[in-house]
Amino acid sequence: MDLLEFAKGPALQVAAYILVAGSIWRFVGIMLLKEKPDYSEPRKSAGILAALKVIYTRSFSAAPFKRATMYPKMMAYVMHIGLFAVVFLFVPHIMFFEGFLGFEWPGLPNSVIFFLAVAAVVSGIALLVRRLTNPVLRLISNFDDYFSWLVTILPFVTGLMIPVRMGVRYETLLAIHILSVALLMIWLPFGKLGHTFLVFITRGTTGMVFERKGAKT
């Protein structure tokens, strides 16, 4: 078995199992903790709609915070849009998903994807520089922050290296790319990348709790 077969086979397989098991582990582990009942008389009824509202609205900074949070927010947006586009709209990736989902969707031209990926890497680096230089971020950052950054940026870098090649064989680059994705999948449930699914819980919870009080969400 060569590296590519290992990457596409066992590595991806194990990563997928860990991704699924780890995410559910974390989710269930949080959801099954004690639940505190709230007996206060609600000002407004707050159900799933309130949760959905905040899940949406917290994607943007409220007006008073716009200026202060503009830079990291923009960078994070570029990063997330790049991530989304590269993962779900790059044609070979769509084919990859089609391989087990059985259906496909239209993608973006490679040149656009390439641009978005480079933009994502650049904004990722900008965010890292910010984390390394901003006193607040330096204080509150830990291993998770840096490692999560690394495993997120790696698939971009290894993916971008495939067309550039630089004398390395395509299969080797592809294998490294897939392995870096496997690493991302393995780490995702355990560190802060868990916000992929936790964001819906935290925003949703706040949406319901605050809306119940009629407070600003």
Partner: protein
């Protein structure tokens, strides 16, 4: 350039060039050993972990945006005042003890055990530099209610005997005498009588059956007693069957602010018991922010079941009474700006009530830039105003408030919280500021039209 030793650096951001006050004062109560203190802190941190807090503590991305929302950080640029950092120990304890991967964190030693030194250092962050105003909770892209977590972290600090002395003393006085300022039922009764005479107003006291139970804040009883008369005028004008009770008059809750749930419950239960005794349908809370949080949103949870009466902040009561025509007010020809008490507006959800009242007063209302729910805090909430050593920090944060108020160029500055008022008064004195904080309730009481007085 001369250098000074690291602990006493020049604070170049201060109004006057000054040494940064050394923060070596770590207050301790009781004579517990280090292990007992840590155990007590852990015990009470851990008690608060439930699905909601767990998702919050698990969800933080360390993006640092909360720092931009916190008046203490904005004014000092001290990274320790980043809201999420204030609950770092709480967060660390969660990950080490209760989170889904706690086993691995312990096994691999990824999250250090909290030490007494840690706890001592964090006293300044959990108490002195957080007013629980909740502005950070609105900026968090993950939607984490950081302020709520600070309140919970205080439980552990209190039980570990690591509360700033002044705050602890106020809370203890409150637990022992029923009032943070030591106001006894007799003294309250005296004050009420005095105010009734002074303002020529009927003030029912200890009535056996009434629809409305009114309560006061000790700050008002002591410092702004005219509030008692104003409350009475308004409730009388509305024709309410109401009363004060000597067995349940204190609205403040220093158990909540200092982090002692037992004391919090004791204070709350006094009001609940009194209200139930007289068959009250409504409890009207005074102009006090945290009193609203304590009874309106946490009262039922202290009681363990839904409350058999409605809880209204006086601004909500006035808004209802004005909207329904129960009371009427004369137009006031002034320009007015309004400072929102965090616990009533941002965290309480009653932002609109004060604005309804202001509309009825017909003033030239000048909303502060980003007022209402995004209002800057007075700097004194969450018990901070009681902590003497936090004064320099509080005054610095107050500059933001001053700017916000001054920009409106309003004639009058109003609010609806005696605690804010106290902290405004203090800062006003400190800065020799022109604005004196007034009371929305008093303005309504002074301008009532008709009805009984």
């Amino acid at each position: 350039m001369t250098t000074v030793d690291g602990r006493h650096t020049i604070d170049r951001e201060a109004e006057r060039l000054a040494y940064k006050p050394p923060e070596i004062r770590h207050d301790k109560q009781g004579d517990m050993g280090p292990k007992e203190r840590i155990d007590a802190a852990m015990y009470n941190f851990v008690k608060n972990f439930n699905t909601q807090t767990a998702s919050y503590l698990d969800g933080c991305l360390h993006c640092g945006m909360c720092a931009d929302a916190c008046h203490f950080h904005v004014r000092t640029d001290d990274p320790r005042y980043t809201p999420i950092w204030k609950i770092e120990l709480f967060k660390r304890t969660y990950k080490r003890q209760v989170g889904p991967f706690a086993f691995f964190y312990r096994l691999l030693g990824l999250k250090r055990k909290v030490t007494l030194q840690d706890l001592e250092e964090w006293q300044h962050l959990i108490y002195d530099s957080c007013t629980v105003c909740g502005r950070c909770s609105l900026v968090c892209p993950m939607g984490i209610d950081i302020a709520g977590l600070v309140s919970m972290a205080r439980h552990g600090m209190f039980k570990a005997g690591l509360v700033p002395h002044e705050l602890h003393e106020v809370a203890r006085t409150s637990a022992e005498t029923g009032s943070p300022l030591g106001i006894s039922p007799e003294k309250f009764d005296e004050r009420v009588e005095w105010m009734a005479d002074e303002h020529d107003v009927d003030i029912p006291m200890d009535v056996d059956q009434a629809d409305v139970l009114a309560v006061m804040s000790s700050i008002e009883i002591n410092k702004y007693p005219q509030s008692i008369a104003a409350t009475a005028k308004i409730l009388n004008a509305a024709g309410e069957s109401w009363t004060f009770r000597t067995d349940g008059f204190e609205a403040t809750n220093f158990g909540l602010l200092s982090g002692n749930p037992e004391w919090q419950k004791a204070s709350t239960m006094k009001i609940i018991d009194a209200a139930i005794k007289i068959g009250a349908k409504t409890v009207v809370l005074p102009e006090c922010g945290h009193a609203y949080m304590a009874l309106r949103w946490q009262g039922a949870n202290m009681y363990g079941k839904p409350l058999p009466f409605k809880v209204l902040h006086i601004s909500e009561y006035m808004a209802d009474a004005l909207n329904s025509g129960k009371i009427k007010v004369k137009k006031v020809d002034k320009s007015v700006t309004y400072h929102d008490p965090c616990q009533v507006s941002r965290r309480g959800g009653a932002t609109q009530a004060a604005r309804d009242v202001i509309r009825h007063l017909g003033v030239d209302f000048r909303e502060m830039e980003y007022g209402g729910d995004y209002n800057w805090c007075c700097g004194g909430g969450g018990g901070v105003v009681t902590i003497k050593r936090a004064d320099p920090l509080r005054h610095r944060a107050f500059k933001l408030k001053m700017d916000q108020v001054e920009k409106t160029e309003a004639d009058e500055l109003l609010s609806s919280c005696a605690n804010c008022r106290q902290s405004f008064d203090d800062s006003q004195q400190h800065f020799n500021w022109d604005y004196t904080m007034g009371s929305l309730m008093e303005m309504v009481a002074e301008n009532l039209e008709g009805g009984k007085s």
